[in-house]
Structures are given as structure tokens and as C-alpha cells.
Amino acid sequence: MTATKRITIKATRFDPDKDEKPRLQTYEIPFSDDSMVVLDALNYIKGHVDGSLSYRWSCRMGICGSCGMMVDGVPKLTCNAFLRDHWPRPITVEPLNNFPVIRDLVIDMDDFMHKLKAIKPWVIRKQPVPLGGGAFVQTTAQIDEFRQFSQCINCMLCYAACPVYGLNNEFLGPAAIALARRYNVDSRDEGLGQRLPVLADAEGVWECSFVGECSVVCPKGVDPAKAIQQTKLDTTMRFVLPFGNRD
């Protein structure tokens, strides 16, 4: 019988009521199966070693976007980060960068929620269409215009990777802008004029200096950096072209 491999997980512990600053706690756990991911390791710790460890998760399959953490300094979905890629080295798991920490590995996402609301992430019509008015018909090409940006799962990895947001968290940020673009280029939407004041604000797209790391870490291929640069071009064109100021 072969002995089960073991792996060391160093996880951030922080209780704002007791601790002055976060610290790392080391756990050694069995690495019994090559398909194990970091989230499995955290679940093992919570179930068998230390039930007080706090973190968020839900779907275990890269859909809900709630399990984002820093894994060895890189923002990742922990349900998609395999232990085998790190073993036999220890793995350090920390809360996502650039956000306040509520407890252990749990971040406070309120800032993003306000930003998300500000860009009105829904289809806006100038004249509401009555329920019996029939379907909005779209061609495949029209859907392709926004499909990529609609894949965002609000996991916040892009905010954790963005040094601009880290230095100035007034910045609207990658996912909010990508989602604004998702609606702005949707043929059913007429809300560009309502979103533009937020997007073209000093803390909007122009705050971005194109580091590009948001697109590197995005687990869904949303490419928020592209959305931001395209929005910059759009807002500029609307400003300089006489016929650009359409609404």
C-alpha cells in the first residue's frame, strides 16, 4: 500500500475583532487525488482540521465566481487551481488583493456592487416595450458583438490583478466596464447615453493605463482590457466626430 502524499497549505487567518493584522496559518493535509483543487484542500481543512476557517464558495465548477483568492500571489478561482500544479511545494492562499478583508479569506465586495449598479447592467429601452410586444430578434453576428463580455461571473480576479484599482479604488474597474460594454454594444439596448457619464468620468475608462493583467487572470476570457480600450475609442469618436453624438 502506498502512503498518501501530503501537501502544505498556508492560509490567511484574520479576525478583525481580535487580530491587528492578518497572519498565515499552516495546515498539512492529505493530497489523495490528482484532481484535487485548492478549494478541495480548504474544504478538507474546514471539515477535518479547523472548522473556523472562513472562505466563500458555491458551485465548485467555475460558474458562481465566489471562490476567487490569491493562490501563490496570483488571483485564481480556487475551484479551478489544481494542487498537482504546485505539489510538492507549499501553497499560500490569501484573500483577493485590493479589497478590505471581512474575515480570513473573505473579502468585502460592496465597492464593486455600487460600481456595478452605477453602470446599469441591464437592457435599457427609451420606450418600454409592452410584454405582448413580441421578442427582440437578434442575428448571430449581433450576439457575437457582446457574447464575450457577457461571460463575466463577477469573480473579482481582475480587480485583484489591477494595480490601478489597487492604487485608486475610485476607479470603476475592469469588470464593471466590461459589463457596461456588454450592454452598450447590444443591439437591443438604448442606454449608452445613460452609462456614458459614468464611463467617461475621470475615474472611468480614462483611469486605465492598460496594464492588461485583468485580461490575463480572467478565468472566462472576457478580456476586460479590450472592453476598456474600445470604450475609450468610442467615447473619443463620439466627442470628435460631428455625427458621433448619437443617442
Binding site: G73, V74, G166, L167, F210, V211, E213
Partner: protein, 118 residues
């Protein structure tokens, strides 16, 4: 953000290098404007700055300018978005067209400078 954040990942590092290149580039261009001003009195009293130190600085600035231009133009594929007959033009083609336009502009500017300097 911790101090030295930009040394932690290679992408951050190269981003800072890219941003930094504009500083020496701006200094060199300022000097260039001064030289143009000095040259307006005609060739007789004009002695361009040509110390070894300055030549080395100019070569370094040229490398910086190339790095900045190449990274900037390579990003064009992510920014520009055109549809032809309802299909998006591939981003590689857009990047290629940017480099072609850059090469063409360099030839034209080079030609004008050499032609008028004679």
C-alpha cells in the same frame, strides 16, 4: 499596494518599463525642439550636439522608442474593432496594418528629412 508591487510580476514590470520609456523620450524630444530652434539662423553658426554621451543617450532613447511603439501598435488588435460584411476583421490583420502604416510613415518622414537636408 505594497511598495515594489511592480517587481512582483513580470507583466507589471514590463508595464512600468513601457510607461517609463516616455520620460527619456520626452527629454530627447525637448532637446530636439531646441536644436530646431538653434538651426533657424542657418547652417553657418549651427553645431549640433554630438558628444559620445549624447550619442549613447540617443541610442538608448531610440531603443525605448522602438519598445514603446512596438508594444503600443501590438495592442491595436485589442482596441480597434471593424466589421466587414458582418464579420469582424481578425486582430492580427489589424496589428499588421498598424505596423505597415508605421513603416510607411517612417519611410516618408525619412525621405523628407534627407531630401531637405541636402
Amino acid at each position: 499596494m505594497p511598495r515594489g508591487w511592480w517587481t512582483r510580476r513580470s507583466n507589471y514590470f514590463w508595464y512600468i518599463v513601457r510607461e517609463f520609456t516616455s520620460l527619456p523620450l520626452a527629454l530627447w524630444l525637448l532637446w530636439f525642439l531646441l536644436e530646431i530652434r538653434r538651426a533657424q539662423d542657418g547652417p553657418s553658426g549651427y553645431h549640433p550636439h554630438s558628444s559620445l554621451g549624447f550619442v549613447i543617450f540617443s541610442v538608448i532613447v531610440l531603443l525605448f522608442a522602438l519598445y514603446h511603439s512596438v508594444t503600443f501598435l501590438s495592442l491595436a488588435g485589442a482596441i480597434l474593432h471593424f466589421n466587414v460584411a458582418d464579420r469582424p476583421i481578425p486582430s492580427q490583420l489589424i496589428v499588421l496594418s498598424q505596423f505597415a502604416a508605421w513603416a510607411a510613415a517612417s519611410v516618408v518622414v525619412g525621405f523628407v528629412l534627407i531630401y531637405f537636408a541636402r
